[in-house]
């Protein structure tokens, strides 16, 4: 437990910053359970073999990194531009960084899966290229934040970039329908029934919940750290 006094208000804010966050530990256990279920208790695909089990990491990471993280970046960024609350900026920043990690996992596991199934780790086809483009946009969001000293300008400019990043997401989702490419169409995020056996679908849903839990647990820790960092910076300036 640490005590930080805010110079602008004169009040003392007590914040907890444990060495190991129990929510994060629970999230890691949930992901571990989902992975064990995927590797041990879920049958492999009849056509692709064992590599199809990468689905339970690749797709949940894509959902968190692309849909959830970019939505949080854009919504919190847009709200920041409106009400100028620094907490919104910190949430957007935290979601962007954690989303960047998830997007990196998507690109790497996708390349490994592609090497096995397509014979090549990378192809300049619409889905892969647009996902790589989003990865660069989120990376530029983080680099931009690091490069600007002024907190207000940093929050304002990165909020605009966060809103722009979200505009890419529907386009990336539709690439498999709009263009001919190697990447298959979604198995679950589509109208109609998912193209999976009941065991695979159950594991897929569990993996999605577990990775969503991990995403928010990481964002929570990242947000707490950013709050402490900003308060310390405010104290140093005072």
């Amino acid at each position: 437990m640490t005590s930080v006094s805010m110079p602008e208000t004169g009040t003392s804010v007590r914040r907890t910053m444990p060495a190991l966050d129990w929510v994060l530990v629970l999230a890691l256990l949930a992901v571990g359970g989902a992975v064990v279920r995927a590797l041990v208790f879920t049958p492999a695909d009849a056509m692709l073999g064992a590599v199809q089990r990468l689905l339970y990491v690749h797709v949940p990471s894509a959902i968190q990194g692309m849909y959830v993280a970019c939505t949080i970046m854009a919504v919190c960024g847009g709200l920041y531009l409106w009400i100028k609350d620094e907490r919104l900026d910190r949430i957007a920043e935290s979601a962007a960084e954690v989303g960047f990690v998830f997007l990196s996992v998507v690109l790497v596991t996708g390349a490994i899966w592609g090497k096995s199934s397509w014979g090549t780790a990378w192809a300049w086809e619409p889905r892969l290229t647009s996902a790589l483009f989003l990865w660069f946009v989120v990376l530029s969001y983080l680099v931009l934040r690091d490069a600007i000293e002024n907190r207000e300008a940093r929050a304002r400019l990165s909020a605009v970039l966060g809103v722009l990043a979200l505009l890419l997401v529907p386009f990336i989702h539709m690439t498999v329908y709009l263009f001919r490419g190697l990447h298959p169409e979604p198995l679950a995020l589509k109208p109609g029934k998912p193209d999976m056996s009941p065991e695979m679908l159950t594991t897929f849903l569990i993996a999605n919940l577990a990775f969503m839990f991990l995403f928010f647990a990481l964002v929570r820790v990242r947000y707490q750290w950013a709050s402490m960092r900003d308060e310390r910076a405010a104290l140093e300036q005072a």
Binding site: T2, L39, A44, L48, A50, T109, L218, W225
Partner: protein
């Protein structure tokens, strides 16, 4: 491969003796059976290596980020 052969035994009548197709096919099958590899295993391809590689790399990325986050948290705790 010669599937059909012309017999010149009765040149006066010029008859054609056609080797029975079944006999020729049996010979071909026999020669193929001698050189053919063992029948391949049916079922999905063995892609376990790629599955393991994918899970390990994903685990390393998540682990590295969590370590980075914990180091930041430890740094903040040390300053306070």
């Amino acid at each position: 491969m010669k599937l059909f052969s012309v017999s010149q035994a009765s040149a006066s009548v010029t008859t054609l003796r056609v080797e029975p197709a079944a006999e020729s096919y049996a010979k071909m099958q026999g020669s193929l059976a001698e050189s053919a590899p063992a029948p391949q295993r049916t079922g999905p391809p063995d892609t376990t290596y790629y599955m393991k590689l994918g899970y390990i790399v994903a685990g390393v990325i998540f682990f590295a980020y969590i370590v980075l986050l914990m180091r930041r948290v430890a740094s903040v705790r040390k300053q306070s």
